[in-house]
Structure formats: C-alpha cells, structure tokens
C-alpha cells in the first residue's frame, strides 16, 4: 500500500512541549496497586501513562528443579511476557523469543543484587511479569512493578529498586519516553537505581551516543528514577 508522506514529526516543540504535552523532564502519571491476585504471594499493578504492567511473585518456595537451586542463596526466576494486544500491531510473542529471554535475564540479574537471597538457601523466588499495554518504558515499568510486588510478598530487599527510561529528542535529553518517542530512532537508556544509596543496578543502551551527552542522559535517568521512588513512596 502507499502511505501519504508524513510531515516531519516535531517530537519537541521550540517551547519545550512533547507530543503528549509533557515537558522534557516530566514523568508520566504513575498509578499503582498492591495485592491484585489471590493466589500469588505478592502482586502489583502499575500504570505509567498508558503502559500497564502486572507482576505476580511466588516464593520463596522450594526450588522446582533441584539442579538449578543454589546451596547458599535463593534463585530468582523471571518470566517476562507481553499480551498480544499490548501494542498497536498484534504480536503474539513466543516465550522463547530472544528479546524476551534477554529482558528476563536482565531483570533476574537486577533483582538478584537487591533481594537478600542469602536468607533463603535452596529456594526459588518466581517473578511473573505480564505487559498488558505497551506505551514505551516497558522495562522500567516492569522493574517498578516487580519491586512493589516483592514488597507485597514481604521479601526482604536491600533497598527499593526504581527505574526510569531516558531518551533524546531533537538533541534534548528527555525522561520517560513513550512508544512513539521510542520509535523516533534516538537512543534509549533504561536505568534502575537504589534510591537511598544512589547506586545504579541496571543500565542498558543499544545506540551510539557521544560521551558528554551520555553523561547528561544517565544523570537525568538517575534523577528520574529517584523521582519515581518518591512518587511510589507517597502512594
């Protein structure tokens, strides 16, 4: 099919407004709820703008596969799935999709450094993440929801883990990018931090960015994550 030529989209107007009316460093509205499932040990639902994520936590419980258990600490098992109706185009993602596995591994490693796993040897903690609607910053929203779910399950952690995604639009670093901004082609930097110590637990980027811009970006993302922490604390 032939699509008519789209005029160049202005992601950031000269006055500093983005497509959804936000300023460059403004976060989307966050709504969260704990304890949404009856059978899970802990669960949470988070809405960051139009991104909706639901997480269920089971555990700590006896490791299902003996060979995968560790004798001195708990193993965290993450399953990260997206609903077929989550994005504009329907996508039935298989569970062995490489990107999905990579994201699951990333979240697993992130939480293994924060959860006090040494308290539960030979057991496993399951984190089941389901993306109901995807509008950008999916990894960050999942981490925020997973933190809340772990709190709901009463699993001890070193600190609350909060995440935020930063990007660049028209040369300006912006915070909490949505789906359209994500597809604008600029760099995307999700960052997860421990708010009290300020330590960065997760940082991932797949694009080419000059070093000074990167420094501004990562600082912005860390500030954004701390702001998310403040928002979640107040709920």
């Amino acid at each position: 099919f032939v699509c008519s030529n789209m005029s160049r989209v202005e992601y950031l107007t000269p006055e500093g407004y983005r497509l959804d009316g936000r300023k460059a460093t403004e976060l989307r509205r966050i709504k969260s709820r704990l304890g949404v499932f009856s059978r899970a040990d802990g669960s949470a639902y988070i809405e960051q703008g139009n991104t909706k994520v639901i997480v269920a936590v089971y555990g700590p419980r006896e490791a299902a596969i003996r060979s995968k258990s560790k004798h001195d600490h708990a193993v965290i098992n993450v399953e990260f799935t997206q609903a077929p109706f989550a994005t504009g185009d329907r996508k039935k993602k298989g569970k062995s999709d490489r990107r999905t596995i990579e994201d699951s591994l990333l979240i697993k490693q992130t939480f293994e450094s924060v959860v006090l796993t040494s308290l539960y040897p030979r057991s496993q903690i399951d984190l089941y993440i389901q993306i109901l609607q995807s509008d950008g910053s999916v990894l960050a929203a999942s981490i925020n929801a997973a933190t809340l779910a772990l709190i709901d399950a009463g699993i001890p952690m070193r600190d609350m883990l909060c995440a935020c995604t930063a990007g660049v639009l028209n040369g300006t670093p912006v915070l909490d990018i949505n789906y359209i901004e994500q597809n604008a082609g600029g760099p995307e930097l999700p960052v997860a931090v421990l708010p009290h110590s300020g330590g960065v637990v997760l940082l991932e980027m797949n694009s080419r960015v000059p070093l000074d811009l990167f420094e501004r970006l990562s600082k912005l993302a860390c500030d954004g994550a701390k702001a998310v922490y403040n928002l979640l604390q107040s709920e």
């Binding site: 099919f1 269920a56 609903a83 994005t87």
Partner: protein, 280 residues
C-alpha cells in the same frame, strides 16, 4: 492440592445441596464485567467471578480473504493462562490447557451460527478484517470455560473497527481510505453469540460454576454452548469419568435456563456500560 477429607467434605456438600461457599447446586457466583480498559486494542473486557480474573483483548487487522469464504471476515482465538494464576502455568506448563480453552472459544465464536462476519469483508474476494480474540487468564478460581466465553462475548461487543474503503488512486495503486468521522465504527452484533455453561459432575450430582477446589473433586464435566434462543450450540465432555446417557440429557436440559440467565445479566451490564460511557 486438596486432601481426602476436604474432598469428602465437598462431595457430601454437593449431595446434600449445600456447597462449601453456601451456594446451591445450581447457584452461580456473581460476576463483574468491565469493558474498554485497553484503549490500544479495538475492544477489551475484564471479567471477575470469584477469584477468576480474565482479560480479553480484541484486535482487528486487514488480511487476505479465505478462498473458501471470499465474502467474510475471519476470527482467530487464543488463550494464555498466565503464571500469575498458578506457577504450574510457567513456560510450557499451560500449553494443553491453552489449546483446549482456545478450541472451545473458537467453537462458539465461529460463523455462521454465531458471529456474522460478512460485514467484515472489505473487498469481496480480496481483503477482509481478521479479528484476533486474545484472552489472558490472570487469576484462576475455577470455571474457566464459562468465564472465557462471557469475557470474549463482552470484548467483541466492545470492539470498534474503523470504517474503511479501498480506493484506487491516480497512479493506479490501491489505497486505504479511512473514514474522516472518528465516531464512525463497525460494531459486531453479539446477540446470536452463545455462552458456555459448564456442569461439573461431583458425587453423583452436577453443579454449575465450580470453584478450583470443586474441580479437583470432579468426576467428569459437560460444557455446553447456549444462545439467546435457548438453543444448544456446542457440547463438549471433559474429565476422565463416564456419565450415563440419561444423566447427560438431564445436564443438557439444566444448562439452558442457566445460560439464558447469564446472557440476560450480561446484556444488562453491557447496556449499562454503554450508557455510562457514550464516547471513547
């Protein structure tokens, strides 16, 4: 999952006619239905009955027509039991259950006796709309067949498909012409769509709307599709036990009033939703 004494307790309850949560054998749990929760999807619905929580999203895409049915749209159903409902559903644990549930849904949603897909045809013989009904079982409290059918029917009712026309432009290429009016949508008529009613055979009697614990004690189950006219649209027997032919007859007859009652409750709820949110 349940102990022998718990099983005995539940079975005896069914025999006497008082189930664990106080319902009679033909008592149905109250359910809550919300539509339009997922703005990105063309239609969506969420059903909660007991602790069962189902979310259905409907998406419409353009596709080539089926050569055997050149004047109709298509419908494809999928069900995913999420591990949030039970850790057994992790990885490929729910594969068979998902397939069984999806088949049951396709059985009651397929044309010609159910949905009329002829107005989903865009260009006869070429392009049509294909409807994807994707259901997520987020939390399970038993009675998945019925819950999935109710949620899917509601989601289809909520579905809004943009009105389009295929036009040939000056260069001779075919383009999609989107109707300028954002309030102009194709809606689906779910009047003739049936709902599934499952009767679970426990302790020599049958009960409707079984909880998870009751499903553990079941001997066999019969799932029946019932539509507004009180007709039986699909019958499926599950479970390892056998049921006498006469008993099956009784069960089928018992399903009809239950199905009609669910349909009327659903339609009342859907009408109320429609009136409280006139535009989306």
């Amino acid at each position: 999952h349940i102990s022998p004494s718990e099983r005995y307790f539940l079975e005896q309850g069914v025999v006497v006619g008082v189930r664990a949560d106080g319902r009679g054998r033909m008592g149905y749990r109250p359910f809550s239905l919300e539509t339009g929760l997922m703005p990105v999807a063309n239609g969506s619905a969420r059903l909660r009955i007991g602790t069962t929580d189902i979310l259905v999203g409907v998406k419409a895409e353009l596709a080539e027509v089926d050569p055997e049915r050149p004047n109709q749209g298509k419908i494809v159903c999928s069900v995913e039991c999420c591990p949030s409902a039970s850790p057994e559903f992790e990885g490929r644990g729910a594969e068979y259950l998902n397939a069984e549930l999806a088949q049951a849904l396709e059985r009651i949603l397929s044309p010609p006796t159910s949905l009329d897909l002829t107005h989903l045809c865009v260009t006869p013989g070429e392009k049509c709309w294909i409807i994807y009904v994707d259901a997520l079982v987020l939390d399970s409290g038993g009675n998945l067949f019925d819950a999935l059918s109710i949620a899917s029917r509601a989601a289809l009712h909520d579905t809004r498909i943009p009105k389009i026309k295929m036009v040939t432009n000056e260069k001779g290429q075919v383009e999609i012409d989107l109707s300028d009016d954002p309030d102009q949508f194709l809606r689906l008529d779910v009047g003739p769509v049936p709902v599934l009613v499952t009767l679970t055979h426990i302790g020599g009697f049958h009960v409707v709307d079984a909880t998870m614990a009751e499903e553990q004690c079941m001997h066999a189950r019969v799932t029946v599709g019932v539509n507004k006219a009180g007709a039986l649209c699909a019958i499926n027997k599950g479970g390892v036990g056998g049921i006498a032919a006469g008993t099956i007859d009784q069960m089928l007859k018992a399903c009809v009033p239950i199905g009609l009652d669910i349909l009327s409750k659903m339609d009342t709820l859907l009408l109320k939703e429609e009136q409280t949110q006139p535009d989306k």
